[in-house]
Point group: C2
């Protein structure tokens, strides 16, 4: 075959023979001339064919020309094809200033006369036909942004000697609670649980002397909620580091990481994001603002919102209020909320001996929690005492505590939901829009 | 705290005060002087302390010095600690030519008097205490090699505009067969299956116009075998590309990818691999040798081995023989075996219209299969006919065929087991050795 040329390469290419492959976005089948807009993963180009119709007087016509015209008349939106033809630069052509005069056209796959969805179909219907939905330019861009974001994060870590690990998703013991847990039969009489987070295992890597680790992988929660921020399966971005003094060492790494990754996205996709999502990506300045939880509650109260929960934590509206305050006061989209009371944190969060509060934080981005980070308790006797204090069965946490029995360094880390970051960065209303194939309580296909 | 210095940074550092953190590898508690070998994720260093013992004549001694000596006498292997002291270059010190005279020592976590395993414990016991096992230098190196290998592969792809996708591991329909499939109850009356491969979904990305995609993620097989090459959960390296002419376009990408990634590993870790694994990493030349299956069978036969299977495929010993032949004849560790008969390939492999054979390959590395690659059949009517021919229920494959109903480009890809590549690259005898936490029929913990 002639070498395939990507649409984005056409503008810089000289006039002459060229071959492009992609799918049909529109066909304008006029009497004297036919136009096809062909899209590939890099852009769209106009193809043109001077139509040859059967002569009204019955006189003979070029058979190949008639056949080509007929083929184009019958092209359906979504059909995949390869076109060879003559590239011509023409500034009158709005779409990139080039067009291709079709010499030959090879159909790889013909789509049905009507596609099942349009760009403005309801979200749930679009998800039924995600294969077609993802052909939209903005949807394609989401996953190119995802690619850049993740690669920048991994590069940040790799350049700093972090080790990439793959922790098992099949576990013999549930995490601290049996809530929201998927379980399955494992070779007859055993029961396996799907990991809700890689946290325990990346902590094991610390006790194994790995120093600094990261993982970007699947996590599972049998969470029956239908909010815009929850999924039963999601991509979790995780890091864990040793020899920290407090959770703030983790926060400092995370803010640097996000600054680095957001800068990479802005540089590579900033203009296209502005065009297709109508917003500018802001590269966050560091340090991010830090606000202790009790101050955050005061701020929310002063703004006139009464948090209904009585446990001292923020609720989603409270989080939005804190972020709004930070945006107004510091012009920042991120804020670390710190100093959570042990009652609203898991038993394994380390506590500050002076204040009694946990050495942990939540990170809010544009009003939504995207991360919990913490220094973990690595001292076995303290860990066991804190588990008992929380009313947990000591036997139930042994599989976890055992990781620290043979020595462990002080350590901590964070977990961050990839889809939440993408959703907020791109101003989307739901993680469903930025997930390749969303999984929820009533969504297990395609 | 004083800034932590990594052991690998000590040699280049001037004499003077320094702080290091790590775990105790050995203690030599002599009467007049104490030595501790401290290891961190980057190396090991000798710590030294002139012992201060209670005076035999009962005269008074420096209390702090007595306490420090006592603390060191009681240090156990595996204990984690931070030491501040005086760095001194001394060429007589075998371990890196430096030592640190201990000024103060802070224990983060004390290990029990005896660790449960040693470097030469049986594999299964080492897996029980993987947290300790992974502290071995060679085990740590495995995961640094893994990090470099994966980052090089992702970099290869990202630089060539591949899109990174995260496909769901929870599926509503099993793959082509119900064999070796984990299933779970999903919100009451639904059944979910754990993905055995991301293949169907990365193919969906092709019909969605993504062009080129990759994913490195978990895959699951309820495989009851206990070989050195099988796991119930493993990390699968996957790529899929559009607009190919045949499986050979996939093979060409894969050989370039492997050459690039092996070169990165050799450059960064070659010397250390030679030291700890006693072998040299070979960066493969491209193109890799290609041998049609029928020729491969002739080669095996000529070497005096009769393949017992009657379906025309190679068996593991046959694969070893083919690789041995290729190594002897071409001096190459890799070989693509091509042109498999449809009977021993899945229904979705595209067939060559001239030969009737599938457009697919297996890639062998040092005698072990690490990949199956193929051009997939993207034409719905051909795909359905091939499924029926294989005796499959057409309804059972609809969830897959549906991806191509609205148009699809010609495409293909491969899946490759990360652990197999690492095992063979490092000359290890089992994927258990190169998996962070192995999962098998009788191994679900830790």
């Amino acid at each position: 075959m002639s070498e395939r040329v990507l649409v984005k390469q056409l503008q810089a290419r000289e006039d002459g023979p060229v071959s492009v492959s992609g799918w049909v976005e529109t066909v304008r089948d006029q009497k004297k001339v036919q136009f096809v807009i062909l899209r590939d993963e890099t852009g769209a180009v106009q193809l043109v064919n001077p139509a040859t119709r059967p002569a009204e007087d019955g006189s003979e016509q070029d058979a190949a020309a008639l056949a080509l015209t007929d083929l184009i008349s019958n092209l359906t939106t979504g059909s995949f094809l390869t076109v060879t033809g003559d590239l011509k630069h023409d500034e009158r052509v709005k779409l990139g200033g080039v067009e291709i005069k079709i010499a030959s056209l090879e159909v790889a796959s013909i789509a049905p006369a009507e596609l099942p969805i349009a760009a403005d179909s309801a979200l749930d219907k679009r998800m039924d036909y995600r294969v077609v939905d993802l052909r939209q330019r903005r949807n394609n861009l989401i996953f190119r942004v995802q690619t850049t974001l993740e690669h920048a994060m991994r590069t940040y870590w790799v350049e700093r000697d972090y080790i990439e690990i793959h922790t098992p998703k099949l576990m013999s013991s549930p995490s601290e609670s049996r809530a929201e847990l998927f379980q399955l039969e494992y070779f007859g009489d055993q029961t396996a649980y799907l990991a809700q987070s890689p946290q325990h295992f990346k902590q094991m890597a610390q006790a194994a002397g790995f120093g600094k680790v990261f993982e970007i992988a699947d996590a599972f929660r049998a969470d029956p909620s239908f909010t815009s921020r929850h999924a039963t399966e999601f991509t979790s971005i995780d890091a864990e580091i040793s020899w920290i003094d407090s959770h703030d060492d983790v926060a400092r790494m995370q803010e640097e990481l996000l600054q680095f990754a957001f800068a990479a996205v802005k540089e590579k996709h900033g203009a296209e994001i502005e065009e297709l999502f109508g917003l500018e990506v802001t590269v966050p300045s560091i340090p991010f603002p830090r606000i202790p939880l009790h101050e955050a509650r005061e701020i929310v109260k002063a703004r006139g919102y009464e948090i209904p929960r009585t446990d001292g934590d923020l609720d989603p509206e409270g989080e939005r209020q804190v972020s709004a305050y930070v945006e107004e006061t510091y012009g920042h989209q991120f804020v670390f909320v710190t100093d959570y009371h042990p009652e609203i944190r898991p038993y394994y969060h380390m506590r500050d001996p002076e204040t009694g509060l946990t050495k942990s934080y939540d990170l809010l981005f544009k009003g939504v929690e995207i991360t919990t980070g913490a220094q973990r308790e690595h001292r076995v006797e303290v860990l066991e005492a804190q588990a008992v204090e929380k009313g947990l069965d000591p036997a139930g946490v042994q599989h976890y505590v055992d990781f620290f029995r043979f020595g462990a360094p002080p350590h901590g880390g964070f977990g961050m939901g990839l889809a939440r970051v993408l959703m907020l960065m791109l101003g989307e209303s739901s993680i469903r829009e930025v997930t390749f194939l969303f999984r929820g309580p009533t969504r297990l296909a395609p």
